[in-house]
Chain length 551, copies 2
Amino acid sequence: MQTKTLKIIPLGGLGEFGMNCLAIRWEDDILVIDAGLMFPETELLGVDVVVPDISYLVENKAHVRGILLTHGHEDHIGGLPWVLQELKVPVYGTEFTLAYVEGKLEEHKMLDEIDLIEIQPKKKFTIGPFTIEPIRVTHSLVDCVALAIDTPVGVIIHTGDFKIDLSPPDGKPFDLHTFAEYGKRGVLALLQDSTNVERHGYTPSEWAVKPRLDELFSRTQKKLFFSCFSSSIYRIRIALELARTHGRKVAVIGRSMNESTEIAQDLGYLDIPPGLIINPGQLRDFPPEKLMLLISGTQGEPMSALSRAAVDTHKHAKIEPGDTVILSSRIIPGNEKSIFRVIDHLYRRDANVICDDGSSGLIHVSGHGSREEMRLLINLVRPEYFIPVHGDYRYLRQHAQVAEETGAIGGAIVIEDGDVLEVNQQQARKNGKVTAGRVLIDSGSTIDVVEDLVIKDRRTLSEDGIVLAVLALNKKSGLVERLPEVVMRGFGGSDITEPAREVVMRCLDSLSPEEKADYGVVKEKVRVELKRFIQKSTGRRPMIMPVVMEI
Amino acid sequence: MQTKTLKIIPLGGLGEFGMNCLAIRWEDDILVIDAGLMFPETELLGVDVVVPDISYLVENKAHVRGILLTHGHEDHIGGLPWVLQELKVPVYGTEFTLAYVEGKLEEHKMLDEIDLIEIQPKKKFTIGPFTIEPIRVTHSLVDCVALAIDTPVGVIIHTGDFKIDLSPPDGKPFDLHTFAEYGKRGVLALLQDSTNVERHGYTPSEWAVKPRLDELFSRTQKKLFFSCFSSSIYRIRIALELARTHGRKVAVIGRSMNESTEIAQDLGYLDIPPGLIINPGQLRDFPPEKLMLLISGTQGEPMSALSRAAVDTHKHAKIEPGDTVILSSRIIPGNEKSIFRVIDHLYRRDANVICDDGSSGLIHVSGHGSREEMRLLINLVRPEYFIPVHGDYRYLRQHAQVAEETGAIGGAIVIEDGDVLEVNQQQARKNGKVTAGRVLIDSGSTIDVVEDLVIKDRRTLSEDGIVLAVLALNKKSGLVERLPEVVMRGFGGSDITEPAREVVMRCLDSLSPEEKADYGVVKEKVRVELKRFIQKSTGRRPMIMPVVMEI
């Protein structure tokens, strides 16, 4: 009888959405799958991103053999700069995924230190006791893989994020055959994406948005603003094709959109004919009906290009009456208010706004499979143990039930971040806990220009002191109702409270009335200005929390 | 030719959701329709409610003849205690609406000062130059009316909130005939609810939820928790009927739920057989399958009964494995995170959670009409001018378009809070602006027991000083990571910072780990404790802003 076990230890993303990270351990060898981030709740003032607590990996540094990436979304790779500061291990990913990672590491000046190793679907490779085969899956992003990991106790498969798109725009289909073969030979455990478990039926193909978008392009008389997630390469591809068909030149607006389209073009995922793309500065040279602006900011992020265009503070992207704005994306829960604020501004500028409200025809599809796709994959793989990954606790529980209803699994086990699941051919059982949790990160500036490449966690930052800036604003009049209060704690040396208050005051004065009415913008600008000032005058990087007090 | 005009002046709810308030003025006579509140964004720390700025009414105090209420929802009556502090004018409403108002005024010790005048559908009454006829409409609440107001330049109709429910559970139908008669005789302006303008088709009747709820009652083996808005009298009626049919005793849990069911019972909207309702203390005397708990807290409000049950800190409402929790309500945008947090807690207690996610069958219907109902009413009323009310700017614009597409109106006009619309039989035009905006209110405690009946606006409060409490928490460990910082500004006299820190520390110590992980609870409890302490030791009521710093 087997006594040794494989350990499966989720460190992020199980019991919450985002910051996916999971460790697999056999004796003294640890593999890590993904290292994502999540964005903070609005309640966490002065935090840019949240990453998983990787104390467990740091304590077992000597045993960590590498990080395997399933795809290039932020909730799977965004934590890398943080994790790699602690663990200098090789990173494995597909070509496209690594292109995103390269940009990220370059930004953090870490590119030279880290070994990036390209993997390809169907090309097996070995790390210690593990043999890994990437399997092509489809998703909203390109070049995504599931991972089949052959271990001494059997094969485990981690799906990454997936949908089963039977007509992906790049013609690279979901590899049903390989999953089926593994299923035939026997799979010990399947770790499957739970994101859309509350959706019944099947998720439509990425192609499904084209007819409705085509119709919108036909109907638009003036400029067309097309906004989607910058990583939605398929969506961008469709938008560019439509622009060409309808005789519109394309200006790409926003840093993330520019980076993403460049990478996709370099790697052959976008085939852009010469002359289609123009510089933002050339926008004035064409009549409005000959223009499309591919613009970032679907989530109402206060500093994004679309938000700025909506309040008319963007240099190039000007919204005029009769222009059409298509938001080809979903609303990420928590972002409703920001998004609706942007849409209201667009309406005030007399733009036609088309968003995914269920009544506008299909202009967005999810990148995650619905219940029937989950069941289909379970039927192909027929694992002994089924382990739901990615999602709030209730999603994991529902997914376990969905899996059990197929009758195709041995059993389903719900584990959460920090749980240690021990599994071999005889049994699977939870056995103990490791440290898991969230680390709050201040990554410098979230404003488009990256100025400050340090990343520090909040605990360290708080040792550098705390700065609270209390801003008393009158929303109606746009006036600053009293001098800003700046409260500093944990600072030695000379008192810089007064000059800091002036910095805040000047910053507030520089905002337009529409910007002042958007507290997201106000807080972000004040934070950046104060940070710059304090760093310059004291060399310290305290935690800065702007508090808006509307009176 | 007419030269005098009627003025229509929205003061709240046009260009935002909530705090509905609109003034109608003929020469020196002003009528006010509704006086609602809205709940603050999470960004507005330390604010309980937001009400409209009524400077215009205060400046014209001598001319305000009364406040007419369309129905008893908070976004239509919640601002009354505030407005009536400034204007001691009569309040007109239906029996049920006034019952809610009475409770509210009693709480604020204002009941004796204010004249409450009951109105009834089809019973005309006159105020100055206006003759008003209430018209029965259907909605999620009972005893709701539209108002037809005969003015010297013609009739204007304000719909209040409505749907066209052709089978309302109380058998009191939407009065299509009276609308039709007005339409035949000629209507100058129709002011119509825009809430559901993004929904196509018709909204289902309140009855439509019964079959699915019946099925859920049949299937539930253990305790059944039924949660809905406490003002959803129809829903409560259906739940009580089902409890009786399925042999379950009912305990009513939560202050608002208790008040609301009592009022509805007194006024004959709930017919509760003797013995159906038990005291919460009797819950232990019955087996779980014989119990239903009618419980408030569908929006994940941190201090609500359901939230407390979910983290097992409620005295009577205990969630046990196999219990079913039905959330028969919608998610109000902005509340997603709080609601999902509660649902996750419920899953962790192994409860079955049924919510309105589109896949569970119909367990909730909206109280607002969809596009076809909007069009139906417009076709009946055929107004010269159509004025959309209630909603964000984009809703008003869309509603104007929906109205124009009917071909049944003279023209649609979009106005926003503060706009002055002048209208007579020749024309309608915007002419100038009055002061409008938001006033942030601190109404004492939002914790169940009402301790503090003063209401003060934030501007006044800030003259009493500001207190910031910075709480450094470790979400993972639940530990308080450093002593809380308390920063006070605008306080004369002795320094009470140290004892205030101890108050905060003691308060944090008293919280359970699950409560500590819920920053909403943490902030609210700290705020209440600090307020109590400061008021006792200084007699002042400063603005208190708890800031959670997770490290």
